[in-house]
């Protein structure tokens, strides 16, 4: 029943295609849980954990913030084993935004990827995703970590090579912070069940390294699999390379992608920065509902 539609008509020269993928077979959890537990790690430099925890709590989940301690070798060992055992009891692990390690050495999320490559953490993560039907997500620095680990788009932690996608420095050469418009490209994810393909959602972005780059062939494959979650669009709703709408110059204006079965979602836009009465001078719809969508996945 999978449908894969590409809007070829708009793909005129110099225009980016708008990806569309609709399916009624979205991954589902086998065991229902009323209030899924969300583990939110805090690395040195993480700064979006409060907003992320609140967004999950509002969505009906039970978030827990966990500070990774690294002042001494023994503190690291304790953090690793404690995090692994908490992960085993959680249904969702979500990597919040920030500047882990100050985005150093020259490139984001290296501290987080080093942590997740630890054997105990890697095993617990794979157990969650492969055997326990769990979900994983990351926004901004979290997305950078997921993509550099291979969790998106491959669904598992791998040794990445030069053919893997990644996120790098914005072409403008500096941090960008503004509201962008994103268009939902696929519903093939438990995170995206509260929106429809084609919906345009406003979202704040704030990053220096959000430029999605990948080989063309891989992007084609991701599009066919419905793994391209969202694209940056202009006021007319079209994907664009215009820096005022595609703030980092992402290939194909891609803002977010998922793992093959959609259970892992990474995106640059800060969907957790929501609330009543915000952004009053920039009109638009800010509700993507991804946190409550994740909870709904477990409410079977």
């Amino acid at each position: 029943m999978k449908k894969f539609i590409l809007i070829i008509s708009s793909a005129k020269k110099k225009e980016i295609p708008a990806f569309e993928y609709k399916t009624d077979k979205v991954a589902s959890a086998k065991i229902g849980i009323a209030k899924p537990k969300v583990l939110i790690p805090v690395f040195p430099g993480t700064n979006c954990e409060f907003d992320t925890a609140k967004a999950f709590a509002d969505g009906g989940a039970e978030p827990e913030i966990f500070v990774i301690r690294n002042l001494t070798a023994s503190a690291i060992q304790e953090s690793v084993s404690e995090f692994a055992s908490k992960l085993a009891k959680s249904q969702i692990v979500f990597i919040p935004g920030g500047f882990s390690g100050g985005d150093e050495p020259e490139g984001s999320a290296k501290f987080i990827t080093a942590f997740f490559r630890n054997a105990a953490i890697k095993d617990a993560t794979h157990e969650l995703l492969k055997n326990r039907d769990g979900l994983m997500g990351g926004i901004c620095n979290g997305f950078q970590a997921l993509i550099k680990l291979g969790l998106v788009p491959y669904g598992e932690i791998i040794d990445t090579d030069e053919n893997c996608p990644t996120l790098t420095f914005n072409t403008i050469g500096r941090h960008q912070s503004m509201i962008v418009r994103t268009r939902i490209c696929s519903n093939n994810s438990p995170w995206l069940q509260n929106v429809n393909v084609g919906d345009i959602i406003n979202v704040p972005i704030s990053h220096g390294e959000g430029r999605f780059v990948a080989p063309d062939a891989l992007i084609k494959k991701l599009a066919e699999n419905g793994q391209i979650a969202t694209q940056y669009v202009d006021l007319a709703g079209k994907p664009t390379a215009n820096v005022h709408f595609n703030p980092n110059d992402s290939y194909y204006a891609i803002e977010g992608i998922t793992s093959p079965d959609g259970r892992v979602l990474g995106k640059m836009g800060h969907s957790e920065r929501i609330g009543n009465g915000l952004y009053q001078n920039v009109p638009g719809n800010y509700t993507i509902g991804m946190f409550s969508s994740a909870v709904k996945y477990f409410n079977i």
């Binding site: 590409l6 110099k14 980016i16 295609p17 040195p44 430099g45 993480t46 979006c48 409060f50 907003d51 609140k54 500070v67 301690r69 690294n70 070798a73 935004g97 920030g98 500047f99 390690g101 100050g102 150093e104 050495p105 020259e106 490139g107 290296k110 501290f111 490559r117 550099k148 040794d159 990445t160 090579d161 030069e162 996608p165 990644t166 420095f169 072409t171 403008i172 050469g173 500096r174 941090h175 960008q176 912070s177 503004m178 509201i179 704040p204 704030s206 780059v213 063309d216 062939a217 820096v243 290939y251 920065r273 929501i274 009543n276 009465g277 915000l278 952004y279 009053q280 001078n281 920039v282």
Partner: protein, 951 residues
């Protein structure tokens, strides 16, 4: 064994090299350079080879983006050089690399050193190469590095064991004391050192060098506002207006029964004292502990009215930012955050107002001994945003003022706003036996002399000699403090807290209690080799000192550890009022509190402010060309490329984006954020706005300050705030007054202007910060008094400035002005009420208070956000009405045609600004408006979509 790896971005991603090449060609004007390559070099020691190899693709590089090699691939480069930080400078790149490796190894942290290798291609002359090096190496923070391999990264330090006792100090003659001040490079003057000498004669001993350095720090202008506390012996005015304002000050003193000497501090703070005495400041929160401006507010937390404290603070870092813009600006915001943080509040929003000379001028016009303005403004923006973005506070408003005077010294102001539930804050006077715990960053030599250095005269030599006086920020460390202090359990253990501003252990801990015994051997160090004096006076970023009861110390240390923070017990509170510091078993400092608190010898001055000058604006003859000139005025043009590098939305509390409308192009006039409530929700917001116009202040500091206060308040009202419970904090920044009566007259006139505005509108400055060293050789900063206004309100009351719809009537509500060119206060306050009433009744679609660029600027900026045009009412809108200053007024877009104020025109579908047939398109104006600073702060780069071949 030291392992080395070189990492270079692949061609497609080598933006940093590309932008350096563009700077070399276009800014330095060196056309012979054809290509530049940048390679990061990492040296690592105390690591297994296998682990090092594993880290090459995961820590040092990313295979998708980088190429790596074990040897330097010089290719056919014409010149090769490497640059590294000076020893002791914090290097976030090396530090993070080391932490990443440790996470993988789970063992000890290896040593990591980084350098950047530059490969230059093209036929460059030696002279051109020297120019390039000068551009990339700022000698106060970095140096050229060797290209050779190194045997070890371990530095051997001489470990000092004693500090010098200044034998014979008490017997020095006046002449010898004077030589002593200059040979030790002290910031204090001859009177102060004589005062010191008499103290030690009484103590019947010679001081240690530690004591002299510490006293010098304690009494520096930076720590103790010695300029502001100088006694005014006499004043002489040439203007009636200043005389009247001064008389009002004297009357206010009489009314309050004040007999203490008159000084600038008194003029600056008397309004708050007066308004408090008359019951107007009932919400002010006062305590012995001085952290930041603190006000009691009610916050609606999911329907419950809770008692909260709102804290705000402004801070400058002008001197450090001038000489090392990145670190200076980063530590500006870092320091500003720590003040309210030390008050146990959570800092959630920041504003940045800076001052510079024209950054578009070519490099050849840079003054000898100065960094180019373009380099200062861009590097400072990078530094401040790097820190603010990392720590995670929403920087909701960023603006830069341009005036030639700021070539003397940059102005770098950060202002922050914070809040905490009142029940989370405990304030108690420390008692005998209480424990002082040091939290966070370690001490290094880089923090020596920060306080005294910024208070000293700035001369040509500074760039070379200030080397040891600049610091880098470490935002992730400060973020840990933010988290710890937000934890109620930890916060309630703290009896008193002080942040480490300039002055280090001696001042930060020294201020916590009258009697203290500090164990300097316990102070955590970045590296060995620091002596007792350095441990005592070296300031450190990201560090706090807290006083807890002895029984709570262990609990507090545990809570700190759970936030990944280092905590160390370093001092004990004592009953006897003396500051004692022990090092290696000896008392190297033992001074009475009374003497320290004297702040040195009393200083005296006579003041004679200059005559007030006309500050009228130059009005263009022609409407169309006037508008074009206006939009390319540095003080009007778009700052979006600057502002958008700051995270404006973290915290999920940003009520208005910095730029509004569907096009996100109308700048807001006030920063509005929800009060940060960690787990619940609120609709209570804080407002913050600033006001200041250097072109008025340079002619009349009195008018400049008065209007700065008014402008800051008007911006709040224009954004929907009610004119009640408004509080102010000032940033003063003036030329070095020396002993010159006229130079002293500038801050005095400004403070009198600000005093009158406070008394007229019954709003008080409850805090402020002064910087009195804005001079370089013979140029001075303009007399600067920036007013920051703060209040609270509700999300539903907010009004935004972008025009909403075509066909709406736009009116001006304008106060009457008195003979001095200032609004009549009764008329002004009535307008505040009228505007708020119209807003609450839903009659106002958009509002803006005209500032530097008058109504013309207001209309333009309101138009850009949604691309809505405007037609002026030709009957009453002559060029003077459009382009002149119009302080205190409001431009309102009405939702319906009502009879209010003066009709200045109508919004239109046509995207033009029109008056009686004279027409300019918004697009044309926008082009000029955005292009003015494009080369300094890129905003409109073109990204070509080349990647559509496959699908």
């Amino acid at each position: 064994m030291v392992y080395r790896v070189y990492v270079e971005k692949k061609n497609e991603f080598a933006h940093e090299a590309g932008s350096l090449l563009s700077d070399i060609k276009n800014f330095l004007g060196i056309k012979s350079v054809e290509k530049v390559r940048l390679i990061n070099r990492y040296d690592v020691e105390n690591i297994e080879q296998a682990l090092f190899e594993k880290c090459i693709n995961t820590v040092f590089s990313e295979p998708q983006l980088d190429n790596t090699s074990k040897t330097l691939d010089k290719d056919a480069a014409n010149a090769v050089f490497a640059v590294e930080f000076l020893p002791g400078q914090f290097d976030q790149r090396a530090d993070s690399a080391s932490q990443c490796i440790q996470i993988i190894s789970q063992g000890d942290r290896p040593l990591v050193r980084t350098a950047k290798v530059y490969l230059v291609y093209g036929n460059v002359s030696d002279e051109e190469l020297a120019q390039i090096k000068k551009y990339v190496i700022n000698p106060v923070e970095s140096r050229e590095a060797s290209l050779d391999e190194v045997k070890t990264l371990v530095t051997e330090y001489d470990v000092p064991t004693t500090v010098e006792t200044l034998d014979g100090f008490t017997k020095l003659s006046e002449k010898e004391l004077s030589d002593f001040v200059s040979s030790y490079g002290l910031a204090m003057d001859l009177d102060d050192i004589k005062f010191c000498q008499s103290y030690f004669i009484k103590e019947q001993r010679d001081p240690t060098i530690t004591e002299i350095r510490m006293i010098d720090t304690y009494w520096s202008d930076h720590c103790r506002h010695t300029t502001f506390l100088t006694t005014i012996d006499s004043v002489k005015f040439e203007d009636e207006i200043l005389q009247k304002a001064y008389d009002r000050y004297i009357d206010t003193r009489k009314e309050l029964g004040r007999t203490k000497p008159q000084n600038l501090m008194d003029i600056g703070t008397i309004a708050a004292k007066y308004l408090k005495a008359t019951g107007k400041l009932s919400k002010l929160d006062e305590s012995e502990e001085i952290n930041a401006c603190t006000v009691k507010i009610k916050v609606d937390v999911e329907g419950e009215q809770q008692d909260w404290l709102l804290l705000f603070k402004n801070e400058t870092h002008n001197h450090p930012t001038e000489i090392e813009p990145f670190g200076g600006a980063a530590t500006c915001i870092g320091g500003a955050i720590r003040d309210p943080l030390s008050g146990r509040s959570y800092v959630y929003a920041a504003m940045r107002v800076t001052g510079a000379a024209d950054p578009t001028k070519p490099i050849e016009e840079t003054m000898e001994g100065k960094l180019p303005q373009k380099k200062i403004v861009t590097t400072a923006a990078a530094g401040y945003s790097s820190y603010g973005n990392q720590i995670g506070l929403a920087t909701g408003m960023v603006d830069e003022l341009y005036h030639d005077g700021y070539a003397a010294k940059r102005m770098e102001i950060g202002a922050v706003i914070a809040a905490a539930p009142a029940e989370n804050v405990r304030r108690e006077v420390p008692e005998d036996g209480d424990i002082v715990i040091l939290l966070g960053g370690r001490t290094g030599r880089d923090g020596c002399g920060g306080a005294t250095g910024s208070s000293k005269s700035h001369t040509l030599e500074s760039l070379e000699k200030s080397g040891a006086e600049v610091q880098k920020g470490n935002a992730p460390e400060e973020r840990k403090l933010q988290r710890l202090f937000r934890n109620k359990e930890a916060s309630l253990l703290i009896k008193r807290c002080n942040d480490f501003g300039a002055g280090g252990v001696s001042v930060a801990i020294g201020e916590l209690a009258d009697g203290l015994e500090i164990n300097l051997n316990a102070v955590p160090k970045k590296y060995d080799g620091l002596d007792g004096t350095e441990l005592a006076i070296s300031e450190s970023q990201e560090r706090m000192a807290v006083v807890v009861q002895a029984k709570d110390a262990e609990k507090f240390m545990q809570l700190a550890a759970s936030e990944n923070l280092e905590a160390t017990i370093v001092a004990t509170v004592k009953a006897e009022p003396r500051l004692v510091m022990k090092w290696n078993g000896k008392n190297i400092c033992d001074i009475s509190r009374e003497f320290l608190n004297s702040n040195g010898a009393e200083k005296h001055i006579d003041i004679a402010p200059a005559k007030v000058e006309e500050f009228a604006k130059c009005i263009p003859d022609d409407f169309v060309s006037g508008y074009k000139a206006l939009v390319s005025d540095l003080n009007v043009c778009s700052k979006q490329g600057l502002s958008e590098r700051f995270d404006s939305t973290i915290g999920a509390g940003t009520v208005v984006m910095p730029f509004g409308g569907k096009n996100q192009k109308t700048p807001i006039q006030a920063m509005i954020n929800k009060v940060s409530v960690e787990k619940q929700h609120t609709d209570t917001v804080s407002y913050m706005a600033w006001g200041y116009n250097p072109y008025i202040s340079e002619k009349s500091p009195y008018h400049g300050a008065y209007l700065a206060v008014l402008e800051s308040v008007c911006k709040l009202v224009a954004s929907g705030a009610c004119f009640e419970d408004v509080y102010l904090t000032f940033q003063e920044y003036f030329e070095k007054p020396k002993k010159d009566a006229a130079r002293w007259g500038k801050p005095m006139a400004a403070l009198l202007g600000a005093l009158e505005a406070q008394l007229d509108y019954e709003v008080a400055a409850i805090g402020g910060k002064d910087s009195m060293s804005g001079s370089f050789e013979n140029i001075d900063v303009p007399p600067t008094l920036v007013s920051f206004a703060v209040t609270t309100g509700k999300t539903s009351d907010v009004v935004t400035p972008e025009f909403k719809k075509a066909g709406h009537k736009v009116v001006l509500v304008c106060p009457q002005y008195n003979e001095n060119g200032l609004p009549v206060k009764e008329s002004q306050t009535k307008i505040f009420d009228d505007v708020t009433t119209l807003m609450r009744n839903g009659k106002v679609a958009a509002a803006y208070t005209p500032t530097y660029g008058g109504i013309a600027e207001a209309v333009l900026k309101m138009a850009l956000g949604n691309g809505i045009g405007f037609e002026y009412n030709a009957d009453n809108m002559c060029n003077k009405a459009i382009f002149d200053y119009c302080y205190g007024a409001f431009v309102l877009e009405l939702t319906e045609d009502m009879d209010v104020g003066i009709t200045i025109g109508y919004t239109t579908e046509e995207k033009c600004i029109v008056r009686a047939g004279e027409k300019i398109s918004l697009d044309e104006l926008l082009g000029v408006y955005e292009d003015k600073l494009e080369k300094v702060y890129p905003y409109n780069i073109k990204c070509e979509e080349k990647r559509n071949s496959c699908i």
